[in-house]
């Protein structure tokens, strides 16, 4: 946008288009450096749910391993490929693991510092949390038979939802036209969101000022997420891909404090009332 060369219009290439996308990935959290154990248990898992291992792209998380340089990532990679998993990246990891991942031409994803559950009031409390909400099938695989999954559940893996439980991101300044903010977790804007600005969240979106731009909650598919705003003047609102544009939005609770949620059939707008 800025800093472009005057002679070539690289903002509008003819041969390709670059787009941001949020695609489901599966996390494979390895909790031990004993690779043989991992292999044995993963092999068992394949037997139970072969359809899940259909060239599924996986991202490794190795933060659970105590020893910082004990595991041979290449070996793990090769094994994953042999059971039809497709290792694509590493999230977090020590310098040692990151170097290995780089060598294997895998993508590096930033680590998620904290996973506070308190940030998602709609999520079940930790003790009653089911594997479904956890959404972390492979996590169970490495835990062996502690939390066995029904094969049917495994064959329909949920999108990666562990990241939806990141700390909420709180933005104190207005979100301006042309700005786009994505957060894997609840997104809270204390001020307004301008026309032409866009908020994307895997969790809920709260806007305490006026929402004049676009707000997309639950972008990884969580239909229980909602959009809340101090004044509903939005261009577009979406929950898990179910969306409404401003022609519809203008008809219901326009310029009113409201919430937008998905009722299982369609998006609903309700006025926020004072209890």
């Amino acid at each position: 946008m800025l800093d472009t060369e005057p002679s070539i219009d690289i903002s509008r290439p003819q041969s390709f288009q670059i787009k941001g996308a949020l695609l489901p990935l599966t996390l494979l959290e390895i909790k031990t450096s004993q690779l043989e154990l991992v292999k044995r248990e993963l092999t068992k898992k394949v037997e139970v749910a072969p359809s899940f291992f259909d060239n599924t792209p996986v991202v490794f998380v190795l933060d659970g391993i105590q020893d910082s340089a004990a595991l041979d990532l290449m070996d793990l990679c090769d094994f994953c490929k042999s059971i039809n998993l497709n290792p694509v990246g590493l999230r977090g990891g020590t310098d040692y693991y990151q170097a290995q991942a780089r060598q294997a031409k895998m993508a590096l994803f930033p680590s998620v510092k904290s996973r506070t559950r308190a940030s998602r009031p709609d999520a079940a409390p930790p003790d009653t949390q089911t594997t479904n909400i956890d959404g972390d099938i492979v996590n169970n695989a490495s835990e062996g038979s502690k939390k066995p999954l029904e094969p049917t559940e495994v064959s329909e893996p949920q999108p990666e939802q562990a990241s939806s439980r990141d700390k909420p991101l709180i933005i104190d300044a207005p979100v301006r036209s042309g700005q786009q903010i994505f957060h894997a977790g609840d997104l809270i804007v204390m001020s307004s969101v301008s026309h032409g600005a866009e908020l994307l969240s895997t969790g809920n979106i709260h806007v305490y000022g006026a929402l004049r731009g676009r707000a997309l909650a639950g972008v990884e598919g969580d239909e229980s997420t909602r959009v809340f705003c101090g004044s509903q003047e939005a261009e577009l609102v979406s929950v898990a891909g179910h969306y409404m544009v401003d022609e519809q939005l203008k008809k219901s609770f326009w310029k009113t404090a409201s919430q937008i949620f998905y009722d299982g059939k369609e998006l609903q707008i309700r006025q926020l009332s004072n209890f």
Binding site: T4, P174, S177, S194
Partner: protein, 271 residues
């Protein structure tokens, strides 16, 4: 320490240059050593508005390229002590402004003891506008009371708080909203946005409202920044804005239409 203030807008023709001339003059009149830099490479409007175009020998780009010293390029204002102009180049290509070069000149100006460095930005959100705002400590966002201008200002504020040097360091660039060409009659008729509407959309501190005023055109034709004209509403409004910039509390004026009495209306019609 020098304070770098960018005069920016996104949309063109809203009054950045007029405001740069007026506000830099106002600061200097109040005793602050001030320089105003024209970042509008290729157009060169500021030296016309400040009536020094015939004295331009070297320009901003010459200094960046080391073809002239800062002292050679700076033009001293004829009316006000403490005021200097660094003119834009008329011929060079727009990419002549490189970050390192701009920074070098700004540092040198600060070392010369300038208190305020006003950067008159070109329109748009391209390279020149980016260079003008990159080093800013504060920004005066100039907007007209109409939807497209306000939208562009919003965009510029976003760029300012995400792409400027301060933003890169995780700091906040102080924002001031300057609403220019404000016409209360047209606001009352609903043809223009009201101050409150603009403020609500931009959520930014209001530095001033400059009324649409014939004196502005007259002033720029004569090459005398309008702030010198104490009989003009625009001049007085700019003077108030400068006071607010320096921390004074001033009530906003010229916000409402003067409802002319019957006599005045009759008189006007027959005139």
């Amino acid at each position: 320490m020098a304070k770098i203030i960018v005069m920016t807008s996104g949309k063109g023709g809203v009054g950045k240059t007029t405001s740069s001339a007026a506000i830099s003059s106002g600061l200097a009149m109040r005793g602050h050593k001030t320089v105003v830099i024209d970042f509008d490479i290729g157009l060169r409007n500021l030296d016309l508005v400040m009536n020094c175009e015939r004295r331009v020998v070297y320009d901003f780009v010459n200094v960046i390229n080391g073809e002239a010293t800062l002292k050679q390029a700076l033009i001293k204002d004829k009316r006000i002590e403490n005021l200097f102009i660094l003119p834009a180049s008329q011929t060079r290509d727009k990419d002549a402004l490189k970050k390192e070069g701009v920074e070098k000149v700004l540092d040198e100006l600060a070392a010369e003891g300038f208190e305020y460095i006003i950067c008159d930005s070109p329109a748009g959100i391209e390279h020149g506008a980016y260079m003008a705002l990159y080093f800013a400590d504060e920004a005066i966002v100039v907007a007209n009371p109409e939807v497209s201008s306000v939208r562009d200002s919003d965009r510029i504020l976003g760029i300012l708080q995400s792409k400027s040097r301060k933003a890169e360091k995780g700091e906040h660039v102080e924002e001031h909203l300057l609403l220019t060409r404000y016409n209360p009659e047209r606001v009352e008729k609903g043809e223009m946005l009201a101050v409150e509407d603009v403020q609500e959309i931009l959520a930014t501190k209001l530095l001033g409202v400059i009324p649409e005023c014939e004196s502005v055109l007259k002033a720029s034709n004569q090459g005398v920044p309008v702030i010198h004209d104490k009989s003009s509403k625009a001049g007085l409004a700019y003077d108030d804005a400068v006071a607010r910039l320096l921390g004074e509390e001033k009530e906003h004026r010229f916000l409402t239409a003067e409802h002319k009495g019957l006599f005045q209306r009759l008189f006007r019609r027959s005139a």
